[in-house]
Assembly symmetry: none
Homo-oligomer: 406 residues x 2
């Protein structure tokens, strides 16, 4: 079954407000095996809304409309849907009484315009709202098509959907089991990754494969449907095994855990500690290590050495090295990693030195000091200051991860 | 002029991902006097996307499509738009060369599938992408109708829109003068701020006032329209002066500059330097200082001291203080600030120590060492680990800002 979500409200078309109800609704629908195929955000304009709704209804089985059920002239959802369906609306005394009673419980008088909320589209069932004044409406159409009008405030929406829509939806939908995998991959661009795995996942319509990327980090989502959970899981496992075989240790997570949490888990498993010496990242690497709850088990601390003088005075980097090789060089990355490892007593130390802007922007050296040896890698990243810094920190985390795997 | 924004990508139809590009684009369009009347989020499905795009084009003058320009089979925006317009696409060697050159600069070979990005819809102008591989496309249609195909990654989208779409849009739109103010406020919650300034801005329909907030940081946008820029500016100035009078030095920026850039500007003006000692923020404060281009003029570096042992060994915090007061205490915040100031020679030093989780989560001490004295403040923040850390770093930056103003 395919669904569309139509969020109504002119405030959702301003730069300040994003529709978030649809994210919650999507999770609920996906759990039922319903795919959300389109989301639409519309203003409080009846004619345009009626046209958008009609088109959605032509395309999809289930239309959930959120918002626009309030008492004011701006609230046009009821009128737009009635118009698009070619149905009238009827005043329902019992709905009006329920709204008036709600006001009475709050010690307030019901304003005249609230009576607008007591009109029901012909053929609709009213969905009681125990968190607000606007009743919802459920309209069953031919086949398994259905439309729900739901309130915009998130707490009203969630309660009404859970109490009154879930059971109705289950009766429309064949029971379906879902199994998912969420792989995360470091050290590989999205297009290289896709070229490698596309031949493996493209033949599968089920599971559905979705690839998402942020700088230095690619997520692969598999979602398999089956009549039983064993069937769904077996489908996910089958495709998952093929992807794992192709990507190997480039996969750092099979459950969606992020890179900093993965490295933290490996450090904790080996009872090791880590410290950092950061130049161009200025604290970003430490901030990422410590974004993980419980990171004090393995993260000791480190040095931010943004200037040459500070690299020399705090980390003991030989001023001669800095003069001969510049701060952005392999010998300096190695000296920084050794310096922080010596001064903190950490088992492992990572260093980052590079240019985040200027003519050499993107040139970065990463150092890794271990009990056995200290090495450095030169890297080149494209992009602006923020991206270069993010990629440098991600690559440093991944360098330590790969070392810990061996 | 009316616009619609069509965000393409199946990941935007999952519970995990909201479209945020459209918020930024809406702000840009509103500044030109263009209203966004509908936003649509579509998956990577060519036939459905073509139908959605056709319907948008029937309703509205300007259609901005973001995403789906990548190199994979999943990226269907070019094909869907070409199909809906009934146009062919032509391979352009110069676009292919530019993509190959970008890979070469990274020392990588262009994957075969990237050649898909070198196809241009007939009649379209290519929009260069200096942040990624996917060129955009601009299609002028009859009257003042236009379509832009833009990349999904925010940094690519923003650069391309600013560099290549703004001027094209200005030529389509009747001139309307817009004057804006973008105040940023630290140290005040959104609802307190709104309660204070709502009586002043509510009477104005023009300028339009929009308030946005992130943890610890509130933005107030004023947008005034006029037939001349003098008229628009005078409207913005009138309301702006009233808001400035109410908020005083809580306003840290009148042009939208962020807090780290503002503090950096004040440091540079006074020829001063700063260093940091971070415990619970783990590098976040240093990362924020150094997110600003040119921050090496005033940011020297610092210490990440995540454990007590490291606070003692690197910063010289007296182990007796740590034992008597615990690491999250005023004396330790003061000792950390003094320790980093002494060791780096910075004019100013900031320290952060606190709990980002656990039973005392949100309890944070911030230290500030200056040439005259060292002080510490105790703060309590509500929220999860990420929010507490963010608020601690923001408040530390603001503490230094307020000191520098005096």
């Amino acid at each position: 079954m395919n669904a569309e979500i139509l969020a109504v409200g002119s405030e959702l078309l301003t730069p300040a407000r994003a529709d978030t109800n649809s994210l919650w609704l999507t999770a609920q629908l996906n759990d039922l095996g319903v795919e959300v195929v389109t989301k639409i955000i519309a203003g409080d304009e009846r004619v345009r809304l009626a046209a958008l709704f009609s088109a959605s209804l032509d395309r999809s089985d289930l239309i959930l409309i959120t918002g626009g059920l309030g008492p004011t002239e701006d609230d046009v959802t009821r009128d737009a849907v009635a118009e698009a369906l070619g149905r009238s609306q009827t005043f329902r005394q019992e709905l009006c009484d329920a709204i008036a009673e709600r006001f009475a419980r709050m010690g307030r008088h019901m304003a005249e315009n609230n009576t607008r909320q007591a009109y029901l589209i012909d053929g609709a069932e009213a969905l009681p709202n125990d968190r607000g004044t606007a009743p919802g409406q459920w309209i069953s159409l031919h086949g398994s098509k259905a439309v729900a009008l739901l309130p915009g405030p998130p707490h009203e929406l969630k309660a009404m959907f859970t109490q009154h829509c879930l059971a109705r939806l289950r009766s429309l939908i064949p029971p379906l089991a879902i199994a998912t995998r969420h792989y995360r991959v470091a050290g590989m661009g999205e297009s290289d990754l896709d070229q490698l795995i596309a031949p493996v996942y493209t033949p599968y319509a089920n599971p559905v494969t979705t690839i998402l990327s942020t700088p230095g980090d690619v997520s692969i989502h598999l979602r398999a449907r089956g009549e039983t959970s064993a069937e769904a899981d077996s489908l996910a496992a089958e495709l998952g095994a093929k992807i794992e075989a192709l990507l190997g240790e480039r996969i750092y997570s099979t459950d969606g855990a992020d890179l900093e949490a993965t490295v933290g888990r490996l450090l904790r498993q080996s009872g090791a500690t880590v410290a950092v010496a950061e130049s161009c990242t200025g604290g970003l690497l430490g901030a990422r290590f410590t974004s993980v709850s419980g990171s004090s088990d393995y993260f000791l601390g480190g040095f931010l050495t943004y200037t040459n003088a500070i690299k020399a005075s705090l980390l003991g980097v030989d001023p001669g090295l800095l003069a001969d090789h510049t701060a952005v060089s392999e010998p300096v990355a190695i000296a920084m990693a050794n310096g922080v490892r010596d001064r903190t007593g950490a088992v492992y130390a990572l260093s980052v030195t590079g240019y985040a802007e200027g003519p050499n922007s993107g040139e970065v050296f990463l150092g890794l000091a271990t009990p056995e040896s200290t090495t450095a890698r030169q890297l080149r990243f494209l992009g602006d200051r923020a991206r270069v810094r993010q990629l440098a920190a991600t690559t440093a985390l991944n360098m330590l991860r790969l070392h810990l795997l061996r």
